[in-house]
C-alpha cells in the first residue's frame, strides 16, 4: 500500500467533489495544502492529455519529485478521478480507479444526489477507503 496517497474526484467544472487521504501514513496537517496544490496544478496537464487518447486511464501524468499523479477520466460527464501517490503499482491503480468509477456511477444514479455537488455519502467514503487498502 502506498504510504502517501491523496484521492480526489474533480467534477466537470473543476470543482473537487470528493477528497480523501488514503495513504497509510497519517495525514499531515500541512500536507493537505501541498497535495491539493499538486492535484490542482495537474488539472492543467489532464486538460492537455484527456483529448489525445481514448483511454480513460491516463496513467501517471505528472510527477512531483517522488509523488506521482495518476488520472482516470470518465467518459460521459468528464469527472476526473485523480490520485496522488508514491507507489508504482500501475495495475493496482487502474483497478482502483475502475472500481471507484463504478461506485461513482452508483452515486450518480441516486436520485437524491445532484450531479456535480459534493459527495458526502459516508458509504461512498468507506468503500473508497476499502478499495484503497485493497489496491494501492
Amino acid at each position: 500500500m502506498a504510504s502517501t496517497a491523496c484521492f480526489v474526484i474533480v467534477s466537470k467544472n473543476d470543482i473537487p467533489i470528493y477528497e480523501a487521504e488514503v495513504g497509510i501514513v497519517p495525514k499531515k496537517e500541512d500536507a493537505a495544502h501541498q497535495h491539493q496544490f499538486i492535484l490542482h496544478a495537474a488539472l492543467d496537464i489532464v486538460q492537455d492529455l484527456a483529448w489525445t487518447t481514448s483511454a480513460m486511464f491516463l496513467k501517471a501524468i505528472d510527477r512531483f519529485n517522488d509523488l506521482v499523479v495518476s488520472v482516470y477520466v470518465t467518459a460521459v460527464i468528464h469527472a476526473r478521478l485523480m490520485l496522488l501517490h508514491d507507489s508504482r503499482n500501475d495495475d493496482g491503480i487502474k483497478s482502483f480507479f475502475q472500481e471507484v468509477h463504478e461506485l461513482y456511477i452508483k452515486t450518480l444514479m441516486n436520485p437524491l444526489y445532484l450531479p456535480g455537488s459534493r459527495i458526502t455519502s459516508s458509504h461512498f467514503d468507506t468503500k473508497v477507503r476499502a478499495l484503497a487498502r485493497k489496491y494501492l
Binding site: D14, I15, P16, H33, F37, F64, N65, G116
Partner: protein, 1245 residues
C-alpha cells in the same frame, strides 16, 4: 587519437562550406571568378540524403577554390580519406582553345591527365573568347567545342558546357549550376556511402574491448558535419542523435569507470548551447569523452542544428528533458562535484536555454498548438530554475524571505538537500559573518498574518537543515544527534515530520550552544544554523563562477529581485500556454513579494486573479491560503467593498479551514466596517454566506388582495450572532416576468444566529400568481448585502450547489380574484310593509374565513332599521335536491336556519361585527327593518286591470351591504339586496247584488299577498260619504265567521250590506275622506325564513295576545249609482265594418250632463268639461286632441260628442281607448268601459 581529434576540430572550424575545385588550365579564372561566385548560394536545389531520398535545400553556399590553392594541396592521403568531407565536391576544368590542332596536340592530353582520377566528379567548361562579330572565330570555337564534347562527354553523362565570353550566355549558367549540382550530388552520395560503411564497421565493435569511442565519434561527426555543410540539417541532427544514443550506451559500460567531469572552474555554467566552449581534446579520457562536458557538447550541436531548422520550440522541449536527465546524472556524482554544483548548473542551464530559445522564437513561427506547448516548456524551465534558486537561497539563509506558500512548499519540501560527501565547513575567519547571520536569524520574525490567523507555516525543507548539515560532517557521529536536538524524539523524527518551525529550533539551539568566543573549534561541535549558512555561502561562492548569479544571491534584495524575475517569467509563459493554473499560482507568488514590499495595489490585482481561480474551481484549502492576503491588501488600499467581500468569502469557506477565533475575527471586521468607517453604503454579495429557503411543504396560499405572513428559513454562516438592521426578500412571480420582483421587508432589526433562523415577514397584498423567493437583501450598518443563493434546506456549506439550477419551488401562491363571500337575501317572498320585519341576509363564506368581518348596512329610502338586536344564526347546508324542490315542507326542513346558535348582535353606526363562529360557515343575519309607506293601499274594482308590477315596485326596498373582511379588512364585498314588502291583502270589490230595497251587497275580496297564513279577526268598513251601512250595525260582518284563516295566496271574500244615504251633516263632509276605508284586524303566522311573519317585537309576546293583532286599512272607492252621477260618458258604437290594423277610424264618446251642477261646483268652470283620452299607446295611435276642454252647458240633459281619430296598431282583442274626465270625481261619472274589440289584420292586395 588526440592529435587526430585536434586536427579534426581545426578542420571543422576552418571549413564551413562545400568546396568546388577549379582547374584553371588556361588562366581564365581571374576573369571569370566574379561571375562564377555571383552564382552563390545555389537556390532551391535537391540533394540526396542518407536514404537516397531527394531533400530540398533552400540555399546551398559553396566556395570555389583553385586546385593550385594551398588549401587543396599538401594533404596526406590517409587524412584525405578520414576528413573527406572537406575535399572538393566537384571539379570544374576551365579551358579555352581557338585552334583544332592546338586542342588535339596540347589540350586534349592535358585534360585526359586531369580527369583520369576517377574519384573526382568533374566537368569541362569551354570558354569561347571569340567575339560575336567574328564569324570565323566563332565557327572555330564551335568546332573545337564539338571536338571536346566528342572526346569527353559520353552518352551517359554530359561533361562539357560552353561559355561565350562575348556572346549570349542564356543557358550557360543554368547548365553550369545543374552540372555542379550533379557533381555535388554524386560526390555526396559516394561519401555518405563511405562514411556509412566505416561507421557500420566500427559500431559493430562497440561492445568489444578494442572499441574506441573517439574514432567512432570522428567518423560520425564527420558525416554529420558533411550533412551540415550541405545544409542537410535534418540528417545532421539524426547523426547527432545516433551519436548520443551510442554514447549513452557505451559510456558507462561495466568496468570502465571514468571521470565524470565538471570539476573545473566555470563548469557550473552550463554549456549546453555552446559546442565550442570547451575543446574536445580537453575532455578526452582514455578512448572516450568525459560525460559532463560531452553530453552538453552533443546537446549544443543538436540545438545549433535545430535553431538552423527554425525549431526553437524543439530546443526548449529537448532541453528541458535534457536538463532533467542531466540533473539526475549530476545527482549521481554529487559527492564528487563541488557543493551545490547540480543546482547551480540547472539554474544556468535553464536560463541559457530560456534566453536562447526565446531569442530564436518569433511569434507565428509554429502552429498555435506548438506555440502553446513552447510557452509551457518555457514556463517549466522558469519554474525549475526558480525552485533550484530558492533552494540555494535557503541554504545561505534567505529562507525567511521565501513565502511559505503551497507551491514553494511543494517544490522545496520534497526536494532533497544537496548531498556533498562532507558538508562545507566554516572558513576560519568567518566569525563576523556568522554574527551577522545570527543577528539576521534573531531579527527575522514571521510577518503576522492578517486577522491574526495562526497557521502552521508550510515547510520549505525536506528535513531539518541543521541535522542534515551536521550529519554530513565528517567529524560528527550520528550519536551526537540527540544532543544536538535536545534529545527530543519528535525532532529527531524530523525527516518524516517536517519540522514546523526550524527557526524556532534554531534559536533555541543557538541559545543552548552559543557562548561568546566559542566560534573557533567548530570542528568538534555541531554547527549552528548561522554557521551552516555562512559555510554554505562560502562554498557556493566557490562553486558559482557566474558573476550575475552570485550577485543575485549576494543580498536579500538581489535575491528577491531575481526571485521576482523568475516567478514573473514562469507566470507569463504559463499564461501564454494552456497551463493557466500554473500561471495563476505563480501570480500568487509574485503577489506575495509585492505584498511584502508594500506594493499593495499590484499585489491585490494578482491575488484577485489567484482567488478567482481557486474560488471558481472550489479548491478551498488553497483559497484559504491566499484569501487573507488579498483581504489585507484590500484593507490597506481601503477598498472597502473588496475587503468586505473578501471577509465574507473567508467566512463562507469550509468551517474546518479556520479556527472559530479567526472566523470571529472576520465577522468582527465586517461588523466594524459596516458600522464605522464607511461613508457611503456599500453593496456586498453574501450569497455564499447567507442562504435562504422557504419552509418545506406546500406554498403559502393567499387570496388576491390579502396580506399574509411569510416564514422563511435563513442560514447564517457567521460564526456569531449578527444583527441586521433590516432584512428584506424579493418575491418573483413565476408567471409574469415583466413585473420584476417585489420586495417584502422585515420590519425591525433581526438577529441572525449561526445556522438556521426562521424569519417572519409580513407580506403585503400581492397580485395573483405563483411566487418564488428572489433575492435576500439586508443592511448591517452601512453595508447593504444581498444573497442570491437558495439553500437546499441543509447546512449552508452547499456552495457547490450554487452553480446549479436553482429549484424554483414556489413559496407563495396568490390565487386569482374570486368571490370569497356571498351575501344574499334569505327570503324571496314579500314581507309586511309598515311592520317591523326580519330581513334575512345569508352570509356565505366561500372557502375563506370571515374572521373579524364587519358588515356595513345602509338601508335605502323607505326602509328603517329597527332598534332591536340583530340576530345571527347558522344556516344548515342546503342539499341540492332540496334546492330544487319547492314544497314548503322540504324547504322548511332543509333550508331553514338551524336555530341552535342564535346570537344577538348590535348595530353601531351602521356596522356589525360578525361573530367568530360564523367565520367559516354560512350564516343568516336577521335584521329587523320596517318598510315605511304612507300610501293607503287602494282596493280595485273586481275585474279592473291592476298593474301588479306597480305594486311590486312600490313595495321594493333596498339594503346596501358592505362586508369588510380578510386579515386586515382588506377585502370588501358590496352588494345591494332588494327586499320586497307588501300589504297582507289585496282588496278588490264588486257589488254582487243590488237589492230592490236600495241596499247593495258589497263584496270585498281579500287576496293574501304573503307567504304566511293570515288570520282575519275582524273587519269593518268606514264608508264614504253617500253610503251608509244597511241595517243597524256598524257594518261589521257577523263575528261568527271570525277568525277567518286565509292561506297563502288564497282569496277570501266578505260581504257588506250598504245603502246610499247621507248620514253626515254638510260641515263634516269636507273632513271626511272621499274613500271608504276597509279595516281588517288580522294576525299573521309566518316564518321569517319563508316570508312575511309576525312583526318583530321588543319582547316576546304570546301568540294569542291582542296586541299581536295587526290592522290593515285599505281605501275603497265606491261609485254612486248611475242616476246620481252628474255626468255620463258613453262610448258610441264603432262602424260595423270592423276594425283593421292600420285603418283610420273615428271614435266617438258622448258626454251627457245628468244633473244640474249647482252650488257645490260654484268655483269651477261650469260650462266646460276637461276630457282626456287614455289609451294604450302600444295598441293605438291617436290623432287629434287627446286632452282638452269641451263646452257643455250646465243644464241637465246637455250633451256633447268628442271625436278622436284612431289607428289600431295591433291585431287581436284590444281594449279601445277610454275617455276620462280628470276634473270630475269618479263617483260623479257613470261610465261603462267598453270591452275589447276585435281588430283584424288586413291583407294588402
Amino acid at each position: 587519437m588526440a592529435n587526430l581529434l585536434a586536427q579534426f576540430q581545426s578542420i571543422k572550424s576552418s571549413c564551413d562550406r562545400l568546396v568546388i575545385a577549379v582547374e584553371d588550365v588556361n588562366d581564365l579564372w581571374p576573369n571569370l571568378k566574379k561571375e562564377f561566385e555571383e552564382r552563390f548560394p545555389f537556390k532551391s536545389v535537391f540533394l540526396n540524403n542518407k536514404t537516397r531520398n531527394p531533400v530540398p535545400v533552400d540555399e546551398l553556399p559553396a566556395d570555389f577554390i583553385l586546385t593550385t590553392d594551398a588549401r587543396l594541396r599538401s594533404r596526406f592521403p590517409q587524412e584525405q580519406l578520414l576528413f573527406w568531407f572537406r575535399e572538393p565536391y566537384a571539379t570544374i576544368v576551365l579551358v579555352t582553345c581557338e585552334d583544332l590542332d592546338e586542342f588535339k596536340t596540347i589540350l586534349k592530353p592535358r585534360l585526359k591527365l586531369i580527369v583520369q582520377n576517377e574519384e573526382r566528379e568533374w566537368f569541362i567548361v569551354f570558354v569561347s573568347k571569340a567575339p560575336a562579330h567574328n564569324d570565323q572565330a566563332t565557327k572555330m570555337a564551335k568546332k573545337v567545342y564539338a571536338k571536346l564534347e566528342v572526346d569527353f562527354s559520353s552518352k551517359k553523362r554530359e561533361r562539357c558546357c560552353k561559355l561565350d565570353m562575348h556572346g549570349p550566355d542564356s543557358n550557360f549558367w543554368e547548365d553550369l549550376e545543374a552540372k555542379i549540382m550533379e557533381c555535388i550530388r554524386n560526390t555526396l552520395d559516394r561519401r555518405i556511402q563511405f562514411y556509412e560503411e566505416e561507421i557500420r564497421k566500427l559500431s559493430e565493435q562497440r561492445f568489444m574491448p578494442v572499441w574506441n569511442f573517439c574514432n567512432f565519434f570522428i567518423l560520425k561527426e564527420s558525416l554529420a558535419f558533411m550533412f551540415e555543410i550541405a545544409h542537410l540539417h535534418e540528417d545532421a541532427l539524426r547523426e547527432y542523435d545516433e551519436l548520443e544514443l551510442c554514447y549513452s550506451e557505451t559510456v558507462n559500460m561495466a568496468g570502465r569507470l571514468r571521470d565524470f567531469g565538471g570539476m573545473e572552474r566555470g563548469d557550473d555554467q552550463a554549456t549546453l548551447l555552446d559546442p565550442g566552449k570547451k575543446a574536445l581534446t580537453q575532455i578526452v579520457q582514455d578512448d572516450s569523452f568525459r560525460e559532463f562536458e560531452f553530453r552538453q557538447y552533443l546537446f549544443a550541436c543538436q540545438a545549433k542544428l535545430l535553431f538552423k531548422l527554425s525549431r526553437p520550440f524543439e530546443v526548449a522541449a529537448r532541453g528541458y528533458s535534457f536538463i532533467i536527465s542531466f540533473s539526475k546524472a549530476l545527482a549521481l556524482h554529487e559527492s564528487t562535484l563541488p557543493f551545490c554544483m547540480r543546482e547551480v548548473w540547472v539554474i544556468t542551464a535553464c536560463l541559457a536555454l530560456i534566453d536562447a530559445t526565446a531569442s530564436h522564437y518569433k511569434d507565428g513561427l509554429a502552429a498555435p498548438d506548438m506555440e502553446k506547448e513552447f510557452y509551457r516548456v518555457q514556463g517549466e524551465l522558469f519554474t525549475l530554475c526558480r525552485t533550484k534558486f530558492l533552494r540555494l537561497a535557503y541554504l545561505i539563509g534567505y529562507g525567511s524571505s521565501i513565502e511559505r506558500s503551497p507551491v514553494n512548499s511543494a517544490s522545496l519540501s520534497m526536494l532533497p538537500w544537496p548531498k556533498p560527501t562532507v558538508w562545507p565547513s566554516l572558513p576560519p575567519d568567518a566569525s563576523t559573518e556568522v554574527l551577522a547571520k545570527e543577528k539576521m536569524i534573531l531579527q527575522e520574525s514571521p510577518r503576522p498574518k492578517h486577522f491574526g490567523i495562526q497557521r502552521k507555516p508550510l515547510p520549505l525543507e525536506p528535513s531539518v537543515l541543521l541535522r542534515e548539515a551536521n550529519r554530513r560532517r565528517a567529524t560528527l557521529s550520528a550519536g551526537n544527534l540527540f544532543e544536538l536536538l535536545d534529545g527530543r524524539p519528535n525532532a529527531i523524527d524530523g525527516s518524516v515530520q517536517m519540522s514546523p518551525l526550524p527557526k524556532v529550533n534554531a534559536m533555541s539551539m543557538s541559545r543552548t550552544y552559543s557562548s561568546p568566543g566559542n566560534f573557533d573549534g567548530s570542528i568538534d561541535r555541531p554547527m549552528r544554523l548561522a554557521e551552516i549558512y555562512v559555510s554554505s555561502e562560502h562554498a557556493l561562492q566557490n562553486t558559482i563562477s557566474d558573476v550575475n548569479l552570485w550577485k543575485s544571491l549576494s543580498s536579500v534584495k538581489e535575491f528577491e529581485q531575481k526571485y521576482l524575475d523568475l516567478s514573473k517569467g514562469a507566470a507569463n509563459n504559463y499564461h501564454s500556454s494552456w497551463w493557466k493554473r500554473h500561471g495563476v499560482v505563480l501570480d500568487g507568488e509574485i503577489a506575495a513579494v509585492y505584498l511584502k514590499h508594500e506594493k499593495y495595489d499590484l499585489a491585490a490585482k494578482l491575488y484577485e486573479k489567484v482567488c478567482a481561480l481557486y474560488a471558481g474551481e472550489g479548491w478551498e484549502n488553497l483559497l484559504s491560503e491566499v484569501l487573507p492576503n488579498l483581504a489585507e491588501c484590500q484593507k490597506i488600499l481601503s477598498d472597502q467593498a473588496g475587503y468586505l467581500s473578501s471577509c465574507v468569502r473567508l467566512l463562507s469557506l469550509d468551517k474546518g479551514l479556520f479556527l472559530t477565533k479567526e472566523r470571529q475575527a472576520f465577522q468582527s471586521e465586517v461588523v466594524r466596517l459596516a458600522h464605522s468607517e464607511m461613508e457611503r453604503p456599500v453593496p456586498l454579495d453574501v450569497s455564499s454566506l447567507i442562504t435562504f429557503s422557504g419552509n418545506p411543504g406546500p406554498p403559502l396560499e393567499l387570496c388576491d388582495g390579502d396580506p399574509g405572513i411569510l416564514s422563511v428559513t435563513v442560514w447564517s454562516g457567521f460564526p456569531d450572532d449578527i444583527t441586521l438592521e433590516s432584512l428584506s426578500l424579493t418575491l418573483t412571480a413565476t408567471n409574469n416576468t415583466d413585473e420584476g420582483s417585489k420586495q417584502i421587508k422585515s420590519s425591525d432589526a433581526t438577529m441572525l444566529k449561526p445556522g438556521r433562523n426562521t424569519i417572519i415577514l409580513s407580506l403585503p397584498p400581492q397580485k395573483p400568481g405563483l411566487y418564488v423567493l428572489g433575492v435576500l437583501t439586508g443592511q448591517i450598518g452601512q453595508l447593504r448585502f444581498r444573497s442570491h443563493s437558495f439553500s437546499k434546506g441543509g447546512p449552508a456549506d452547499t456552495d457547490d450547489f450554487m452553480s446549479y439550477e436553482k429549484p424554483t419551488r414556489p413559496i407563495l401562491k396568490v390565487s386569482k380574484p374570486r368571490s370569497l363571500v356571498d351575501l344574499a337575501a334569505a327570503v324571496s317572498s314579500a314581507l309586511l310593509i309598515n311592520e317591523p320585519q326580519w330581513v334575512g341576509i345569508i352570509v356565505r363564506p366561500i372557502n375563506y374565513s370571515l374572521r373579524g368581518a364587519v358588515l356595513h348596512i345602509d338601508t335605502g329610502p323607505g326602509l328603517r332599521i329597527e332598534k332591536h338586536g340583530i340576530e345571527i344564526q347558522k344556516l344548515a347546508t342546503v342539499s341540492p335536491n332540496a334546492a330544487n324542490s319547492d314544497t314548503p315542507q322540504s324547504s322548511e326542513k332543509d333550508g331553514s336556519p338551524v336555530a341552535d346558535e342564535v346570537k344577538q348582535l348590535t348595530l353601531i353606526d351602521g356596522r356589525i361585527e360578525l361573530v367568530e363562529w360564523a367565520s367559516n360557515i354560512t350564516s343568516v343575519l336577521w335584521i329587523p327593518v320596517r318598510a315605511i309607506s304612507d300610501e293607503l293601499p287602494k282596493g280595485t274594482p273586481a275585474g279592473a286591470v291592476v298593474s301588479q308590477r306597480q305594486s311590486v315596485v312600490d313595495g321594493l326596498r333596498t339594503i346596501a351591504l358592505k362586508l369588510e373582511f380578510g386579515v386586515s379588512h382588506n377585502q370588501i364585498f358590496e352588494k345591494t339586496i332588494a327586499v320586497h314588502f307588501t300589504d297582507p291583502f289585496h282588496v278588490s270589490t264588486c257589488v254582487s247584488d243590488k237589492c230592490n230595497d236600495g241596499t247593495m251587497l258589497l263584496q270585498v275580496i281579500l287576496q293574501s299577498q304573503v307567504k304566511a297564513s293570515l288570520t282575519v279577526y275582524d273587519a269593518w268598513l268606514d264608508l264614504q260619504d253617500g253610503f251608509v251601512h244597511a241595517g243597524k250595525g256598524d257594518g261589521r260582518p257577523t263575528s261568527n265567521f271570525f277568525p277567518l284563516i286565509v292561506s297563502p295566496k288564497s282569496k277570501a271574500g266578505i260581504l257588506f250590506s250598504i245603502c246610499l244615504g247621507n248620514t253626515l251633516v254638510k260641515d263634516e263632509i269636507k273632513e271626511l275622506r272621499p274613500d271608504s276605508i276597509l279595516n281588517i284586524r288580522y294576525g299573521i303566522s309566518g316564518c321569517r325564513t319563508l316570508g312575511a311573519h309576525s312583526p318583530v317585537a321588543e319582547e316576546p309576546i304570546a301568540a294569542d295576545d291582542d296586541s299581536q293583532r295587526l290592522t290593515f286599512r285599505s281605501a275603497l272607492v265606491l261609485q254612486q249609482p248611475v242616476l246620481n252621477p252628474c255626468l255620463a260618458v258613453g262610448f258610441l258604437p264603432l262602424p260595423s265594418s270592423g276594425l283593421r290594423v292600420g285603418q283610420l277610424m273615428t271614435m266617438k264618446w258622448r258626454v251627457e250632463r245628468l244633473k244640474d251642477l249647482e252650488e257645490n261646483m260654484a268655483s269651477q268652470n261650469h260650462d266646460k268639461v276637461l276630457y282626456e283620452v287614455i289609451a294604450n299607446y302600444e295598441n293605438w295611435m291617436i290623432a287629434g286632441r287627446k286632452r282638452g276642454y269641451v263646452a257643455l252647458s250646465t243644464k241637465q240633459g246637455s250633451r256633447v260628442e268628442i271625436t278622436i281619430l284612431c289607428l289600431p296598431l295591433v291585431a287581436g282583442y284590444v281594449r279601445p281607448p277610454q275617455l276620462g274626465l280628470p276634473e270630475v270625481d269618479e263617483a260623479n261619472i257613470s261610465c261603462n268601459p267598453p270591452g275589447p274589440h276585435l281588430i283584424c289584420f288586413v291583407q294588402m292586395v
